[in-house]
Each structure stands twice: as C-alpha cells, then as structure tokens.
Symmetry: C2
Subunit: 458 residues, 2 copies
C-alpha cells in the first residue's frame, strides 16, 4: 500500500464518505434501479462516482441511467425516457424537472440527493453508441472492475483538482472530468505518481491505457478512451487548465500544504475595490450586459467566448487597445467585460485601398476619395504599391462604438446575437460593479495562477 503523509490521511478522513453516508446513497440508488427495472421498459444502472465509490463526502449527486432497447426510434426513447423518469420520481414522492443536455432527462430531489434519471440506449459496444450518454455505462464498467484499492487516490485527486479550480469538464471550466481523473490515477498507479508524471507533461502528451488509438488528436493532452479508441477523454481540457494542474502538481510535490485540499477563500471585492483597481491601473472598463439566453451553459458559454473575441476584434479594428477580456454567465444576465488601455483615439485614421495592379479597383478608390476631398485628411497616396487615404474616424471613443449597432455586425454566437439585438446595457468604470459580479470581478482583477493563490491563502 501507498505510504501516505499524515496530512493526506487527514484529508482522506475528511473527504471519504462515512459508513452512514455510503449506506444511505447505496440504499437510494438501489431503490431507484429497482423502480426502473420493475417498469419493464428499461434496465436501471447506477453510474458516476457513486457506482465507482469515488464520490467526495457531502456530494449529493446520484446518476441513474435507464438503458432502453437500442432499436427504439430516438423520439420514442426521449418520450419513454422522460415518462419513466417522471414515474420513478413520482413514486419517490419527489419534486422533479425536465433538463436538456444532448437529450432530455429528469432531475429530481430524492431523500436529500440530487438525482439525474437519464435515458440511454443499451448498446453492445461503446463504439456503436447513438448518443454521448450511451457511453457512460461502459465507462462505469471499465473503472469499476479496475479501480480496486485506488479509490483513495481518486478522492485525493478530485479534491486536489476541485480546490485548485481545475475540476469540471463544463465549457466554462474546461478542466478535468471525474472520469478523466479516474483514468489518470489508473494509468499512473496513484495520486503521487500522477503528480510526478504531470510535472513533466508537454503539450501533446498521449496516454493510451488500452494501446488502441485509431487516430491523432489535436488537443494538448490526449487520454484515449479505453472503451472508444477514437475519442479523447481530455478533449475539453484547455491548455490553460492543463498547465494550471501541472503548476499545482509541481507546487505540491515541492511543498505539500493542506491548502491544496481546501476550497479557495473567497476574495471580497466591493465597488471601492473596483474604483481603486481602475485608478491604479489607469485603464477603462466596459461591461456589455444582456439577458442570459434560455439554453444550457455548454451551449451559451462557447457563444459568449466567440462574441467576446469578435467584439474585441471590433474594438481593435477601430484603434482601441484592449488589455484583457472575460465573460460571465449568471442565471439571469451575461456579461462581456473589456479592459482597455486606449479608450479614445484621434480623428485621423489610415484607410487602405487596393494595390495599383488591380487597376480597375484602384481607379475607383482614387476617384472616390479624390472627389470626397473635404472628408480626406491626406491622400490618396501610394505605399508599397497600394493606395491609402487618411480619413476621419467614425468613433473617437470606445464607449460610442460599444453602444452602437456595430457590435451586432460582428461574428457573435447565434443566441448571444439574439439577446443583444433585443436589448443590452453598456456600463463603464465603476458602474460595472454589481454584487452578483463581485466574485467574477475579483477573479479578473486579482487574477493569479492556482499555486500563487494557494500560497497566498496560507
């Protein structure tokens, strides 16, 4: 067995579910599986960390899959799946609601647990799945029969990545999923061996437990799915999150501290903190705010990022220099945040024309600006074979540009564009502060690597 440090043992005693918690979750899970099976419509199966015994004490998530005949049409699966989920939830007397990921499922509160009742196809191989969720039972079976005495290592790794801010494969985090944590521990044989190995990870590191990879993957970390040789389990891990984990691994091996296993201390960040930061930094802050589109986070977040970049491009094309940007999705409102180094620009702007070897276009450009003499500062003139002219800018202040319709003309995500077109608010400077955004703004202005944050928390 592994020789753990006393404080790792202390952490484990804190995060390992106790006998009672374990018995309670198992009991609820088994009753739910029983209820699904009794319906005769589908076979029930416990998946996720409860099935693998790798949940952190206090986690309330329980995933019950309902495996249907794969010959059912998709619409029937969805209708029957929801109906069965509702029936089971009602049988347990719980409140429930429908939710949507790749397809719909039932979320219910049962005996203090947050239960997902998810319909899927009972396919015979993970490579013949009809929907991403069909793969999950295979993951559970693969891990269940291999994890053996590595469950404590999984618990440590999950707590370590959660407290380091790199746990979660959702679009906003782009970090490590639970299954990825399990595979990594399995591959390296434990928590500490994984950290040792991760310290030396380079972009393009490939881990292939079954040695069955069938293609190349473009992502910085590749962990080939043991149940599907064409899938990278780490596909949604960003380069940033990967190296934040590497930094944490090095930092922990170098100097293991309890803080690596403690949730981050929240940073208070009031309106006066924002005023002070902007005064010291000398920058200008703009927030574009709009109603959160009625779609799940994994659909909205990539659109927020795309919109954030597109509007950044717009600002820069108009001469406004951007330092940093970030976006935030709250239940009711979304925020696109821009910190500008240059907020105002002079009237003159260089406007490029065609090269003179494109004779017809060049002639048109020349005639256009020759006759618009009054609006031209200078030119047309020739530089490196192309025409240029210096004309008046449309927007001298970034705020005027951001408040204009121009932002609807750039490559926004579809739902973000819809929301912005209906209405948006533009705030600047200290107006950007709201109590709901205080954590987001703290993260923006006190941005730090996870190791730095942990060292400061000590």
């Amino acid at each position: 067995m592994v020789n753990r440090s006393p404080f790792e043992e202390e952490v484990l005693s804190r995060i390992r579910p106790g006998r009672e918690e374990r018995a309670h979750i198992r009991e609820v899970a088994e009753s739910l599986v029983g209820a699904v099976n009794r319906s005769g419509k589908a076979r029930g199966m416990v998946v996720g960390s409860v099935a693998r015994d790798t949940w952190i004490s206090g986690d309330r998530d329980l995933d019950i899959f309902m495996l249907f005949d794969p010959s059912l049409p998709r619409e029937v699966l969805e209708a029957d799946g929801l109906a069965l989920g509702r029936a089971v939830a009602k049988e347990f007397g719980s409140s429930y609601r429908e939710k949507y990921a790749e397809h719909p499922y039932i979320n219910a509160q049962i005996d203090g647990l947050d239960v997902d009742l998810v319909p899927c196809y009972a396919v015979t191989s993970a490579t013949t799945i009809q929907s991403a969720v069909d793969r999950t039972p295979f993951h559970t079976r693969y891990i269940q029969c291999r994890l053996a005495d590595l469950t404590d290592d999984i618990l440590l790794l999950k707590q370590f990545t959660k407290c380091g801010g790199v746990y979660g494969s959702d679009q906003m985090t782009a970090g490590f999923s639970g299954y990825l944590c399990e595979l990594l521990v399995l591959n390296y044989g434990g928590f500490l061996p994984l950290l040792e190995a991760a310290s030396g990870w380079r972009p393009g590191t490939v881990i292939d437990l079954e040695d069955h990879r069938t293609r190349d993957f473009p992502e910085p970390l590749v962990v080939v799915d043991p149940v599907d040789p064409g899938r990278n389990v780490a596909a949604s891990l960003s380069l940033t999150r990967m190296y934040e984990f590497v930094e944490l691994a090095r930092g922990y091996l170098n100097h293991p501290l309890p803080a690596f296993f403690l949730p981050p201390a929240g940073i208070p960040f009031g309106r006066d903190d924002l005023v002070n930061e902007l005064r010291l930094r000398g920058t200008m802050l703009y927030a574009i705010e709009f109603a959160t589109p009625p779609y799940i986070e994994d659909i909205v977040v990539p659109q927020l990022r795309k919109s954030l970049d597109a509007i950044r491009g717009l600002l820069e094309r108009h001469g406004f220099v951007v330092n940093r940007t970030d976006c935030c999705m709250l239940p009711d409102t979304c925020t696109l945040l821009y910190e500008l180094l240059v907020d105002e620009v002079p009237p003159v702007v260089r406007h490029p024309g065609p090269p003179l070897w494109a004779a017809e276009n060049a002639q048109k450009f020349f005639m256009k600006y020759r006759s618009a003499e009054s609006q031209v500062f200078c030119g047309p003139f020739i530089d490196e074979g192309s025409y240029y002219v210096e004309i008046s800018r449309k927007f001298l202040a970034a705020g005027d540009l951001l408040a204009s319709d121009e932002i609807l003309g750039v490559a926004l995500g579809k739902h973000v564009k819809g929301a912005l077109a209906s209405s948006f608010g533009l705030k600047s400077g200290e107006e950007c502060w709201r109590s709901e955004l205080s954590g987001f703004l703290a993260g923006f202005f006190r941005k730090s690597s996870p190791l730095l944050r942990i060292q400061k928390d000590v």
Copy 2:
C-alpha cells in the same frame, strides 16, 4: 515617325537643348577629353546624357570618365585618378573638390557646367569590372549606337519622371535612373508605348533586351542590364516609386495634361499650417534631430530608414501607436519624424513569461514576480500554458521614452547611432517646425500620389 500631340511637341521645344547649348557642352566635353588624353595616363570619354544626347535643356551635368589601365592597383588608380582630375581642372582654371562615391573623383565648375572627372578601369567586358563605375562606359556605348531617333522620347520620359517625382536612383528617391529611362524607351520603342505597357505592369515584370538573364531577381521591376546579364538596372527602384510611375502613366494616357511635364508647385507650409494640421488630425508629432553624419547620402539614407523603423518598433513595444513616420536628410541635420495616435498609456502592462513546459525558467519567473508582489498589479497567472504578469510600465509618455537612452539600444544604422549617441534634440508638436523642414513637412501632411498632385496643380 511618331505622331506627337501638339503639346508634346511644345514640351519638346522647351526641354530639347538648343543649337548653342549643344555646341557649348560638346566643346567643353571635347576639350576635357583632349586634356585627359594628352596626359598619356588615361583615355578620356564623355559618358552620361551628354554622350547620348539625352540631356534636358538647362542641365549642367557633364560626366567625363578617365579610363586607366586595368592592371593598375586600386590605390594607384585612386591616387593617379585624383591627380589627373585635379590637373585637368587646374588647366581649365576652375575651382574643384574631391568627392567620394564607391571611390574618389573630382568635381569641378567649368564654363558654367558641373563637371565630374571620374577615374575608372578600361576593362574589356562589363562583366569583368572591378568597380561599379567601370560599367558606365559600356552603358554609354550600348545606348549610343541604338538610340537613333528615340532621343525625343527619352527627353519626354525624363521630364515626365522628374516632374512626377519618380526620377533619380539615389537612396532617398529610389526612382528611375537615366539609364533605366533609356532602356525602357528602347525596349518599348518610344515614350507612349512605354506608358501603355507600364499601365499593365505587375510586380515581378521582367524586361530583358538581350534575352541573356543568368539569374532571378527579387525586385518588383527587373530590367536586365544589356551589358551585364547578372545585374538588374531597376534594382534600386522601390515598389512605391514603380507604382507611382504606373499611376502617372495611366493618368497621362487617360487625360494628357501639360502639368505632367511641369515641375511641382511648391506647397507653402508654415508653422501655423503645422499647428492647424495637428489640431485637425488630433495626433502628436515628435522629431528626433541630430547632426548629419559626414558620409554621402547613399550611405546615410538607408541608415536613417533603418533607425526610423527601429525606433518605431520601440515606440510600439511600449504601447505607443504610430500612424506614420518619415525621415529627412539635410546638409547639417537629419530628422526622424513620428506621428502618434497614442501618446500616453496607462501604468499597467502585460508582461509575458515562459511556457510552463520550460519548467526551470517558469519556476524562476514565478519566484521573481511572486516575491516582487508590491510592484505587480496581477499574477503571475497562466494563459494558454504560459505565465504572464501585469506590472508597471517604465514609460507612460512617448516623449519620455524618446528622450531616454532606450533609443540607443535599438538597431540603428552605425553612423546614425554615433550621431545620436553624441547628442540629439527631441521636439514635439509645433516645435517640430523649422523653415528648412517646411517642404519635408508639407510632403508629410499633404502626402498625395503624383497624379493627385498633378490634378490639383491644374
């Protein structure tokens, strides 16, 4: 014969040297050649436009080459060449001075003419030259026996390129040399056929009269030297000047105006004009001024350009946004001119560190900025696998940067660096105006293509 328009004939009657002017130059030229020959040291030869009958009435330049035995050592050629040049100048009772291009020669004022007495080697082939000037006699012989009745076309082209601002192969102009003009007219068979052809020139156009090119050339226009297959006569023509000529050609063919053959009207540009331009444009102007290094223009000008770009890079690395730059070389002072869109920047600056896979450097970067906490706005944080930190800028105002020693640390030309290191002046805004710079500043702020200028002059 060509069917010329009446006003081309009128231009020719104005620029074609008259009988008396012709007789006078010929007489002086022949006496000088006689004097060289009588010395017994070298053979005299008239070269340049006088030899080819292609000088514009009023030009006072006369080039006499003194062809020495090619077996003489270079030092002997230089010493004997200067001695013979001095002796000839004295014989004609004229004032003279030594000048230096690739090697020394004598410049003398004789009978109202500006005479260069240039020693060279009398080599047997233009491909076995020992110095660039040795090639000139071959050019003269090549043109002399081919030009026949194209001299009027040459005169028109020279006047056209001079008045269009694209004549001269010096480094500052980077335009068309006299020899290049002659070859172009020869190749296309006249002034108008050349303009027709030039209208369709694309970058990479190759003209090879003797069809003997031995290599590829990188320049936008290639005119292979008929006396040297490895040389591009248009090597010093810039892409800008090439397409200014193309624009003039198209403009003239489209609408021939007398103004194409008239020298540009000077634009008066006083201090109040500068004040007004800067107010309208809203930009900031800086001029770095220093003593002109004691070298010929063709050595200094490329260094000015290199320095101009290097300091522009420095400004941009420090966050100051440059709109346009230019440089000017006067006999006593040189000027590097910068027009800035952004003159002041806020304190915060993003400073990139190493990627985390360079573990040792990454660790050093982290430790350095972790311990310099008080001077750090934010970070170290990780973005796309690399460390970044936000720190205080050294220069918040472009003027402070330009007045600092930082400008000596960039890639300046050697002699410019020497001059700047000894002393330089920094002027800003309207202080940049001086009467000697009025033409240069007019060209900068009223920058226009040659065709636009000609249309405005009408």
